[in-house]
Amino acid sequence: MLKLEARPEASKMMSVMSPVLALAITVVIGTALFVMLGKDPFRGLYVFFVEPVKSLYALTELAMKATPLILIALGLAVCFRSNVWNIGAEGQYVIGAVFASGAAMTADKGTGHWFVIVVLLAAVAGGMLWAAIVALLRDRFNANEILVSLMLVYVADQVLGYLVYGPWKDPAGYNFPQTITFLKSTQMPKLFSGFRLNGGVFVALLAVAAFWVLLFRTYAGFQLQVGGLAPAAARYAGFSSRKALWTALLLSGGMAGLAGGLEIAGPLGQLTPYVPAGYGFAAIIVAFVGRLHPVGIVFSAILMSMFYIGGELAQSRLGLPKSLTGVFQGLLLFTLLACDTLIHYRIRWQAARPLPKSTSATITSKASTATTGKGA
């Protein structure tokens, strides 16, 4: 009979290996799925794991997809590390895009190229504002942040819908629900001609470094993490849990808003009802698969972007629905959580008959679970 036994201390190796193992299991299930759907599994895997990195152009597209995921996941990592469950990053992203568009619309022909900074700052403010509602209601009224942040995603979508179908609709846009195409001065500079990649990717990499310093080299980051891991210890040390709540939510809201702003100032170039692309939810998976570590998040964001691009290619090449991406992303988080059990526990074979009580009592290790005999 299989049995879980607590490890004396968390396994560092499993902590790194668990995402790899989870990816392997996801790939195995994915292969089985391709076979079941009557598709060549090798072509399926090729589309997901080779094509997105095959050419320079493919790589730049991959980096562009990864940019918002990295930015949002960095903020969420701080949240989850401080045990604040902000799952409404999607809404903060949308409001960030809305604020960025509001700023971008005020630009005219004479506006200088510096204006893109204003656009991005507006986006950060928008995301922060949306997250601040969550923080305020949690702090002041004890309202559950999971439910409030999620409800605000639906509200944000409706705000976006109202604007693009109503006051912000382009009068010369043949009645399509979209704003004007924003002027060049509101857009991030492109890195190379012929590619869509823009300076946003550097913003993301800078943010990775900044969050690494914040989390592991500052007192504020230390306080946040203690608050998440051991709330009692944090209280005893006098670390304010209210401050942690506000910091985590404002940071993650601002980052999600920035991601939305960069999409407006980059690949989108205008506000449409298609702004919500699920990045806010995918970033939750990115954060966990990246071990809530800034560097890990870069790798997991790249992986998640491969799922996105692979899903689009699977639709055009293999005739499979694009929603395959969501299946694989959800599956990856599911298997990751299962594999994470191995960080704190190891699997032991045990005879079907439980050990007599006297024998188990001689095992003095705190880790022994033999006393229950209720394995599986």
């Binding site: 607590a6 309202a143 439910l147 409706q158 109202y162 629905p321 988080l333 959580l337 599986a376």
Partner: protein, 306 residues
């Protein structure tokens, strides 16, 4: 007057969606487990139920299919959370994300399918009473089943020994374990039954309430159901009342649109979500009140011997 009767009827139907899901989540939470995967389970159950209804033409088989889909996903969640000791919030979230992706993936070929016209249900005699008849007695049988389930669950929790054991596990799994109850098996059972209820809700949406299949059609009702259990302070009768209240808020937008109220439709669509936030704020304001009523072990893993 006639339109008000129809509004009441629609409210009961919308409330039934929330009632099944919230009652299922109530069973979970009474055993100390929070399943944030409600939205995902409901979506998969919605497509499972819809596909069954399209292929068999039998609504009862469709409900069974939805319940089975919900129970199956809940079982996967339960194995992770109860036997592998994973974080309940993260695992539930994973279930929601997986469920919405999976339902969209499976459902793509059903977006064009239509269900054949179903006969309207009437309770003979009562349905003919003016106003009261059209409001209350021309409902789908599932509406009355939801009321029956509420009564049964209230009896189970407060009048039966098994219900007492379930509640004791939710309050203190350690004590229940010390008394010799198989805590993890009972929790698993509660999770699976709760998943089946969420499944019924999902199938009701796609087969009766809407009735058609659209990607993401549950539209946050799973999350609203989660809020409802808090709003109802974990009591079955209050869950049902809360469900009807929220059903009313959902229906009010169509009623107002029909009456020609000049508000952009987006603000009307927002109402159920804003109402959820407002209700959460009002009920959670008194932290002590919530703490007294909340099952004490909620969200906390129980792993004997560690």
């Amino acid at each position: 007057m006639e339109s008000f009767a129809l509004l009441l009827a629609a409210t009961l139907s919308a409330g039934t969606v929330l009632a099944f899901a919230a009652l299922g989540l109530l069973i979970n939470e009474r055993a100390g487990i929070v399943n944030l995967g409600a939205e995902g389970m409901m979506l998969v159950a919605a497509i499972a139920g819809y596909a069954t209804a399209v292929h068999t033409g039998n609504d009862w088989l469709a409900f069974a299919g939805g319940a089975a889909a919900g129970a199956l996903l809940a079982a996967a969640f339960g194995v992770l959370v109860i036997w592998l000791n994973t974080n309940q919030y993260a695992t539930g979230l994973a279930l929601s994300l997986f469920g919405s992706g999976f339902a969209a993936f499976v459902g793509i070929r059903y977006t064009q399918e239509k269900l054949t016209e179903r006969p309207n249900f009437h309770i003979p005699g009562l349905a003919e009473i003016p106003f009261i008849g059209p409001a209350f007695f021309r409902q789908h049988p599932m509406v009355y089943i939801a009321i029956g389930l509420t009564i049964a669950l209230a009896w189970f929790l407060y009048r039966s020994r098994a219900g007492l054991v379930l509640r004791s596990i939710g309050e203190s799994p350690e004590s229940a374990h010390a008394l010799g109850y198989p805590v993890r098996r009972i929790r698993m059972l509660a999770v699976v039954v709760g998943g089946a209820c969420c499944g019924l809700s999902g199938a009701y949406i796609s087969v009766v309430y809407t009735p058609l299949w659209v990607e993401g059609m549950v539209a946050g009702k799973g999350w609203i159901a989660l809020a409802l259990t808090t709003f109802a302070t974990w009591r079955p009768a209050r869950v049902l009342l809360g469900a009807y209240l929220f059903g009313g808020v959902t229906m009010l937008q169509f009623f107002l649109q029909g009456e020609g109220v000049q508000i952009p439709s987006q603000f009307l669509t927002m109402m159920p979500y804003l109402a959820t936030i407002i209700v959460l704020v009002l009920i959670s304001r008194n932290a002590t009140f919530i703490r007294i009523n909340m099952p004490a072990s909620i969200g906390k893993p129980f792993f004997p011997g560690s």
